[in-house]
């Protein structure tokens, strides 16, 4: 096998592996970001619901 062919094969191995790892890291980064946003949104919705029900309870108690 010539040096040129060997270089091509070695480059292909490195590029494929790096590309796969890069794509995986981008995907996991996106997933984490999406989950973080979703978590904040759901926590906010729960807090709003708890505050609303606490306010209702307070009004009922004052009557």
């Amino acid at each position: 096998m010539t040096l040129r062919t060997a270089v091509e094969y070695v480059a292909a191995a490195y590029l494929l592996a790096w590309l796969a790892i890069l794509v995986y890291m981008l995907l996991i980064g996106q997933k984490l970001q999406r989950l973080e946003t979703e978590l904040a949104r759901v926590e906010q919705a729960l807090a709003a619901r708890d505050a609303a029900s606490a306010a209702i309870d307070e009004t009922a108690a004052s009557r």
Binding site: M1, L3, T5, A6, V7, Y9, V10, A12, A13, Y14, L16, A17, A20, I21, Y24, M25, I28, K31, L32, L35, E36, E38, L39, V42, E43, A45, L46, R49
Partner: protein, 230 residues
């Protein structure tokens, strides 16, 4: 989010170590006398393979911990270990045949025991996902998965030893009981590449775990939110 930070630190370490090892492999380490330039794949393929073994071993350790404690956190860790191990296993099966083609002239050699044992190990862990996702979430699934992972981990030492007990050796044996059968510069670059790849493995496991935990938390909170609306 402390876990994400820790995972990011591992990944950051790997982004320094892996390019450094690659640069040294290409521009500092001399070409191998036998294999020539194609031996440079060694600094990628072997660390990736060892990382796959490490991730599978981590998965097995977590599986054993699950069976001992019945804590679902260990089941999740075991699943993530196998998941990351399978990703590295895929990379081994991509880079290995490329190296085989350039060194031996064939993409795969069915008479090479280490290749075959690794393929069996990989397929065994691929089947893990079929087992896991065919069962309903709960203690039964976790227990079955843990036992399966522990059965598979026995293939790791077998894969490692296969090349040493093989009679017809194509696969080179580099690390023997008497030490590394290669020059010091080769060993140094290999160790840097291995450290980088293991850092990446630790980072991937940590980030995957953080993602899975966040997904579970979101699901729980959504359930609470929806439950209150009923």
């Amino acid at each position: 989010m402390l876990t994400v930070k820790r995972g990011s630190l591992w990944v950051l370490a790997s982004t320094v170590l892996i390019p450094l090892a690659t640069a040294l492999a290409f521009w500092w380490v001399p070409d191998d006398i036998d294999q020539g330039f194609s031996q440079k794949i060694f600094y990628l393929h072997v660390p990736v393979a060892l990382s796959a073994y490490a991730a599978f071993a981590y998965g097995a350790f977590a599986a054993a911990q699950y069976l001992r404690t019945r804590d679902v956190a260990w089941d999740l860790r075991s699943y993530v270990g196998v998941h990351v191990g399978t990703i590295f296993g895929t990379l081994v099966l991509v880079t290995g045949p490329i190296w085989a083609k350039v060194s031996w002239g064939v993409w795969w050699d069915w008479s090479d025991k280490q290749l075959n044992v690794f393929l069996i190990l990989f397929l065994f862990y691929c089947a893990y996902f079929m087992l896991r996702f065919s069962l309903d979430e709960g203690e039964r699934r976790a227990a079955f998965s843990a036992v399966y992972v522990l059965l598979g981990v026995g293939l790791i030492p077998l894969s490692f030893l296969a090349v040493r007990v093989a009679q017809q050796v194509l696969h080179p044996v580099v690390f023997t009981r008497s030490g590394a059968a290669m020059p010091g510069s080769f060993v140094l670059v290999f160790l840097i590449a291995l450290a980088g790849m293991l850092s990446l493995t630790a980072g991937m496991i940590t980030l995957e775990l953080a993602g899975k935990r966040a997904a579970i938390r979101v699901r729980e909170l959504r359930r609470r939110l929806e439950g209150s609306d009923l």
